[in-house]
Subunit: 736 residues, 2 copies
């Protein structure tokens, strides 16, 4: 269990130390600082104790061979794994000859604060050494949003003793062993070979992928001695009674001139000074929250969790720039640092409406990998592009194809993110340079993979939808509806439009519900969920999972959230009830989507319970599942649950549509978004909804057109009856 | 290309040497000698040149870890790989100081003969050394059917020079590297650690699986010197002008007292002498052929190929005793030396009617692995036993579960082999001791995995049938019909009988054909087979194969062969035509079954073409696909095509039924079989069929009951019109 303090609106506070390695790792993820370009896990300043050290540079990866007990044609033979980059965090302190270690002496106070507006991690320590020397330490850590290559630490100590500080920049740190969990990352030991070192600069190269990384450091505010070796720069300072210094380090690994860039960025940051870095950081975040903040009166925990999630979404995406946004952001090495479909389907929608500049960048990154995706399509005997299920630099890195390569929907997810971004921003230049080609190339795959039966119905067979407890099915509804949208947007030719019009959407007449995929509703039932250990995938063979009606995560329900216009309200109601009874939420991607449909259908308390689950998952869920990195898509999920759920935001067809409602638990809910350059603030109370715009905007309120021009308008809300939750095997709200 | 001479009735003759390593490996498989207990690949006497050295002891395996890029619950973590056992074959010859090497000097004659009645491999060489010394060598190799642990070589040389022979017993030979083909075996280097050595005995143990193997050798007929080390015994003899000696070696690795057993078997064989070993061998084979031979007038090649196949089936099964019969027999390390379903479905049916004693043993081996299968069933949350898709000692060793663990039909295949063996032999003791329990435990799995829909139809979902180009489908017809038979035979309770009665058999009303599995006939067509490279699995991702109507191997057609009473003649006709058009025969298991149905339906020339393909596959097909071992099931396939195909043998329900017919190519066809202790000889000409029995027997001739008592009866045959072959993407008969 972490020792996270009671919720405060804008900070996450930890009092005391996490107990045990698992809790330590979890806290390191929660307190990670990142800007999308570089990321520092929330390790202590001292090298020990630690859960898992982690410094990540976006797309700094090593390659590994994938070997299969029984390989098949075009199974990927190579994967990419994010590596622990040169680490500038460690600062070892000696107090009167005694090493400072939180596990020794008396720890009178240990408090860490993640400040969501300041963008800093602050640590305050009061410690008495084994020999009785009192010491006070304060450190402030920042990873600059404004200066993507720069991180800095202000470190202050006071004690009635001689102080010695050894501040390190260290390469090829020892790593803890990999977990047995198949979702964990591989661990690559000693990934770097030294290339060059100077007194304040190290240059290394990854041994196989051949990526060169330079890191430059400086220490400001105190005098010290530098000792530099190939794998370590150590700055040592001694002082009687007190010392304060700023450690500023910068990386270069992108493009050419890594050394010069690292040095120049470090020097510019040092010239600006630590206080200026903090000021820039706050300014950047003020700008972010102005269009992203969510206010919830009545639930401090969910309020905090939602902001915490948005903060980490920003940290994952802000300066990802020419690189992908990994599923764990830069908070851990989970999923090997890969990006998966949840980026386009969960993270980018949130950023599209809150911080759109980085969405264009993220999609340009996808575009930059088109040659890999075209080559993969050729390998699969398909047309156009086949985007990878998981990757860092573009090639398919999935080693279990039934839940990887077979999930062709990644193509439509990318196209949908392009359409959404364009609709919300009007960024025509992006479309000309990247978006149009992404849509066309993804659509060509659907045209090739579809076929008509003799009744003229089009089908997509043998694919896997979002639900990973079902695989290789025909006519997955989510896939088919998203492919339809993709095909229509591309408008390649008459054949593709005909396919789009005729793609099957399996429906079970007897049960009066849509089939997640053809035949799904005729499979065996799981029968008894009582006594099951979750996640089921760690206790059941896929043989057992695939052949039954058990749903890992929203699939047909996601189809209803993303393509709501393809279903009638009555269909939605019946489908929701049916799939609620069979969905175990073994994926963190599920609850936010269930929240959206629950809110739409009037199960307001249920929707709120799912929102709560999403908002508190990593922060307070009690587990340690985020130890190898936060679930960034689940972080985005809170916003999705709030804004798509209670705000009723829908954007199908390029129209912004809102149908706000408020759950019984809250007295007031406010959210913000951007639409074509205009900021919109939506305030919902049980009686009214008020829209405030900072520029011209058109949207629909419960289906009625509204146009605002830098002003506000209010509507009375009809009361919505809070319907009871339909039965589900794992009711939400077990968290807290 | 091998240099196999024109067909002779009872021998396979090679003239000259195979060209290239691939052809060398192929010839080593063809000329392998084995008795089911030990097997020697047909390597030359000299260690070089060689394709792949190979000496195999049944179930002498090493363990390997299976690692997965993305593992799943209950994926096997360990596999077993047959290892190259201590090798007693190498004999190095020096002629007047010049080493004998077929690649040097002048090879005037090199001929090898596999004698199918003598059970020997004879080699005759005339060679002139680089310096012009003429040499004649003759060696005869035998692996004793009567003495399962014993092999022997008689080696004779003449030359006008001083001769030196170094005869080795060698352990941990160097092995060629593994192939990239996923069907190939892993190579384990240096599998043995030495335990003990004596002057004429070596004892080793596999490093991980911990199996102890002892091998003892003696040389008779000439004087020599022994030099013994931990990994080698070398016997060296010199003689002027000529030398002849017998090398006799014996293994012990089963049970206790390996050393004593190896020594005792060697000594007993040496006492009997080489000539007696040959006499015993011929007697054993005379007894075999008396009940197994097939005579075909009109086609010497297929005649030879069929006998060659039967010989290798016997070599695979004769003394397999308490161990499994591997898919490659003991002729190579393909499939890691595993046994798969083709043992019960192809090999055991042939042995049941020709050499039934070893079938009881083979099924007792299955029974001995029941605890592994029960444990696997528990892992899979099923009941009873879940037999492994591939194994040596019992645990599941399949590393690709969609075409491994998901092929639950292995359970029914085993039960069916039990039923057939019991019906054909009346071996009630076997049933009490093993058979009944096998049938009950396999049936419990079907009872658990089946479920009823609301119309009361029972289903088995998410399994893979024999066709490995389709996976994880619902209601595979073959699986369901075989499960039905299994359930009925077990008669566990009312529920299981109800399941058996109501199991779905998917039928496509529109096309008027059965669906291989539910929905199969509505999948996309492959569309164009022209220009494809076979096997398709080496050129297409499973994604592409699974989602289309392309069939690797007989599946629905196998269902019609094994469960013919479940289909009307008209259904068989339509189904056969439909699946012929979609079957590419990328498995050697396909042609024999297609032959059976083609013969039944009157496509006599087509059936003969499939028989030809099966009979010549390894012997003359021109490829080198048998380089890592012969396809023993395809060897059995010739008999299946002849006796189930042209003989019309059916045994559903425990009744022997025959409907003989003869293809236009042949003037006379004779086959033999055993039924409950009585030998039956069936002679077919275009006009008549004659049955000769050596005891009492009852059977059906074209549905009419016939009873014979040690006599013969003839029937006139109505002429059968030879129907044209329906279209198929890969017509048979490209071989030859």
């Amino acid at each position: 269990m972490s020792r996270i303090a009671p919720a405060e609106p804008w900070v996450v506070r930890e009092i005391g130390l996490p107990e045990g390695e698992g809790a330590m790792r979890q806290a390191e993820s929660l307190f990670a600082l990142a800007n999308g370009h570089i990321g520092l896990r929330g390790n202590l300043d001292e090298p020990e104790p630690r859960g898992m050290p982690g410094t990540y540079l976006n797309s700094l990866f090593e390659e590994r061979d994938l070997t299969y007990p029984e390989a098949g044609f075009a199974f990927p033979e190579r994967t990419e794994t994010i590596v622990n980059a040169p680490n500038g965090k460690p600062i070892t302190l000696t107090v009167g000859g005694e090493p400072f270690d939180v596990r020794t002496g008396e720890l009178r106070r240990h408090e860490r604060v993640l400040d969501l507006r300041a963008g800093t991690l602050t640590r305050e320590v009061e410690w008495v050494s084994p020999r009785g020397v009192e010491m006070r330490l304060r450190s402030v850590r920042v990873v600059s949003f404004q200066r993507p290559s720069v991180a800095a630490i202000r470190y202050s100590v006071e004690a009635d003793a001689e102080l010695r500080v050894d501040s390190d920049l260290v390469v090829n740190e020892e790593q803890p062993p990999a977990d047995d969990d198949p979702r964990a990352s591989a661990v690559i030991r000693d990934p770097f070979e030294p290339v060059f070192h100077d007194r304040d600069l190290l240059v290394h190269r990854t041994r196989r992928s051949g990526i060169t990384v330079a890191v430059a450091v400086t220490h400001v505010g105190a005098d010290g001695e530098l000792v530099t070796g190939p794998d370590r720069i150590r700055w040592t300072a001694t002082a009687p009674g007190s010392i304060t210094f700023d450690k500023i380090f910068a990386y270069g690994w992108d493009g050419l001139d890594q050394r010069d860039n690292a040095r120049a960025e470090r020097d510019a940051a040092a010239r600006a000074g630590f206080d200026e870095l903090l000021a820039e950081q706050r300014q950047y975040l003020d700008d972010f929250w102005a269009y992203a903040d969510v206010e919830m009166d009545g639930d401090d925990q969910v309020q905090q969790g939602t902001r915490f999630g948005l903060f980490h979404v920003l940290q994952a995406g802000a300066q990802a720039g020419p690189h992908p946004i990994p599923s764990k952001g830069l908070t851990g090495n989970g999923y090997d640092g890969h990006t998966l479909w949840d980026n386009e389907s969960y993270v980018l929608p949130v950023l599209t409406y809150t911080h759109p500049a980085c969405v264009g960048q993220a999609l340009r990154w996808r575009h930059s990998t088109l040659d890999h995706a075209r080559e993969r399509a050729r390998e699969l005997k398909l047309d156009g592009a086949a985007f990878p299920w998981r990757t860092i630099s573009g090639p398919e890195c999935s080693g279990y194809w039934p839940a990887g390569t077979a999930a062709l929907h990644i193509n439509a997810d990318i196209a949908d993110a392009v359409l959404r971004y364009h609709a919300a921003t009007g960024d025509d230049e992006f479309m000309r340079e990247a978006g149009d080609e992404l849509i066309a190339e993804t659509a060509r795959l659907w045209r090739k993979v579809s076929y008509f039966d003799e009744e003229g119905v089009a089908h997509i067979a043998g694919v896997t939808g979002p639900d990973e407890y079902t695989a290789l099915m025909d006519d997955n509804v989510f896939t088919n509806l998203m492919a339809r949208r993709n095909l229509r947007a591309a408008a390649l030719d008459e054949v593709s439009e005909h396919i789009a019009d005729r793609l099957a959407v399996p429906y079970d007449e007897r049960r009066g519900v849509h089939e997640q995929a053809a035949g799904f509703t005729r499979l065996d039932e799981w029968k008894s969920f009582a006594g099951e250990d979750y996640p089921l995938m760690l206790h059941h063979h896929y043989l057992n999972l695939y052949r039954k009606q058990v749903v890992k995560q929203a699939d047909l329900v996601l189809a209803m959230a993303m393509c709501g216009d393809e279903f009638t309200p009555e269909e939605k109601r019946r489908n929701f009830e049916y799939y609620e009874a069979r969905t175990v939420r073994d994926s963190s991607l599920s609850a936010p989507v269930q929240a959206v449909l629950a809110a739409e259908l009037g199960h307001l308390s249920l929707a709120y319970a799912y929102l709560t689950e999403a908002a508190l998952l990593d922060l307070r869920a009690g587990g340690e599942s985020g130890g190898d990195g936060l679930h960034i898509a689940a972080c985005a999920g809170s916003w999705i649950a709030v804004v798509m759920g209670f705000g009723g935001l829908r954007d199908t067809g390029g129209t912004l549509s809102l149908s706000p409602r408020i759950p019984p638990r809250l007295t007031r809910l406010q959210f913000r978004l951007r639409w074509r350059g205009t900021g919109l603030r939506v305030t919902v109370t049980p009686e009214t909804v008020t829209y405030q715009a900072d520029g011209p905007i058109s949207f629909q309120h419960y289906g009625e057109d509204v146009t605002l021009n830098d002003g506000e308008v209010s509507f009375k809300l009809d009361p919505i009856e809070d319907l009871p939750a339909p039965p589900t095997p794992r009711p939400p709200g077990e968290v807290e």
